[in-house]
């Protein structure tokens, strides 16, 4: 893991498609110090890599899958009801780059 700095946090935020105020980045940097320090506690535990990463709270294994039977699709007006911009039965967005 590389050390955290303001620049990295900005990049991370921008990759999540939002921006934050300078002040917030500073708060965030402080939070990072806290959480990194707390995570160090786990790093101190030499047994930790003996544990498999836990994905489900308990073994969660099933045998079945959904049968390939289509349902009636949603009504188009209804499914697009919440979209702000529409044109010709499609959602209209501003020019997509690249």
């Amino acid at each position: 893991m590389k050390t955290v700095d303001l620049k990295k946090l900005q990049t991370a935020a921008n990759r999540l498609c939002f921006d934050m105020s300078e002040e917030e980045y500073q708060t965030l940097l402080n939070e990072f110090r806290t959480i990194t320090k707390q995570m160090e506690l786990i790093a101190e535990d030499k047994t930790i890599d003996q544990y498999e990463p836990m994905i489900y709270p308990f073994p969660c294994v099933i045998n079945d899958l959904r049968d390939d039977e289509p349902i009636n699709p949603s009504n188009r007006d209804e499914i697009l009801k919440n979209a702000q911009n529409k044109l010709a039965g499609q959602i209209k967005v501003k020019k997509v780059n690249g």
Partner: protein, 485 residues
Amino acid sequence: MNYLDLTIKEIHEALVNKQVTPLELVNEALKRAKEDKCNAFEYIMEKEALSLAKTLTEPEKDNLLWGIPFAIKDNISTKGVPTCASSDILKGYVPIYNATIIEKLLKKKAIPFAKVTLDELAMGGTGATGHLGKTTNPYDVSHERMVGGSSCGSAAVVSSAIVPFALGSDTGDSIRKPASYAGLVGFKPTWGRISRYGLFPFTPSLDSLGFFTRSVYDSALILNIVAGYDKNDFTSSREKVDDYTSDLNKPIKGIKIAVIKEILESVSDPYIQKKFQETLKIYEELGAKINYVSVNHHLLKTLFPTYYIISCAEATSNNANLDGVKFGLNLEGNTFNDSLIKTRSEGFSERIKRRFVIGSYSLMAENQNELYLRATKNRHKIVDEINKVLKDNDVIFLPASPSVAPKFDNKIDQLEDEYLIADNYMVIANFAGLPSITIPTGFVNDLPFGFNLTASAFAEKKLFNIAKALEDKLGYYNLSARTKK
């Protein structure tokens, strides 16, 4: 007497005896809701509730939820009713489908009454971070105290006796902690026991739907209705649904109750400590055996960072659908990308963004081993330890909060540089997917607090039984801020 001050079971009897009608209940609830001073409502379903109530004229004797109004945490999908998870990013969103839990309650002709507040996107524990501002504790007339979060609105409306029950969700302790601050029964079942279809995801492997009630019986009763496999949720359990009310009054002689020493010791309030010892005596008198067990203190200190890293990491991804394109807030820029950034920058509060950055950073390839993966491994270790305790014991019993509802301070939901074990330990039940219930056990200066019981996966029946035994003995039954005076 006002029927809304009663528990579900008691209201049901009044409905069956035609002492009151669903319409009268809804009207009274509307009156109370409009007087609400706790800022608990996102959307009061006045029209919907009234029109449904009007159709309910013939009481159903065997259907205890018939005509009962209830509140819904606003991160549960309700068809045709705005649902915004107390976040600006979902402004104006009107879902086109009902969550399974809503469908099941509608089938029983319970009456959805209101959508209630939460910490923004259920990410928080104070009830102060929703887009409408703080939701406060009904027990505190000065409204300086929190009711807890993230299910703050749900706790407030049941504690204010506006409705007899409310749906909540619990990812870390979001039902069980507010239940303690609000003097309520707060329950989350085993992971997968209730379908999550329609619950806005925060951390799918920790998230659970649950509810606030004013009695253990009511809680068991609702679980009877809403538990079960759902083809729309692959993680919902195929395990048989029991009658959770049938063993409530069984003697608990011989039951083994574990108390984790290190967690209990981290509770500093002497009154809560004293009360806890008293309840242990009650349990002993009922024939239960108390076992003090030890869990590595160092490991308990890692509960919070483990939770924080896992939940933030997964939350970034679960909320990546909030882009303003299909629903919710949409602020236009010059290009698609501009619009996306504008919408998400405005739509999420700064504290949500901070969590997302921490989460996203933890998932990056160069950091994943040290942060996200390490946290999931530690989760595994914690779960193993807890399951060891539950192998030899029926329940784990501890205070649900180290104090009564605190006052809001200025540093709402910033990470604190302290290891607050007693404040964070209930996340263990989410790590391990265990059923867990908080029940009211006392008051300090007229403010309630509760204790928590956690059992093995799918041992809900036993859990309710042990909780009910204490409820009966303590007499803290059907508490509300409205009726306490």
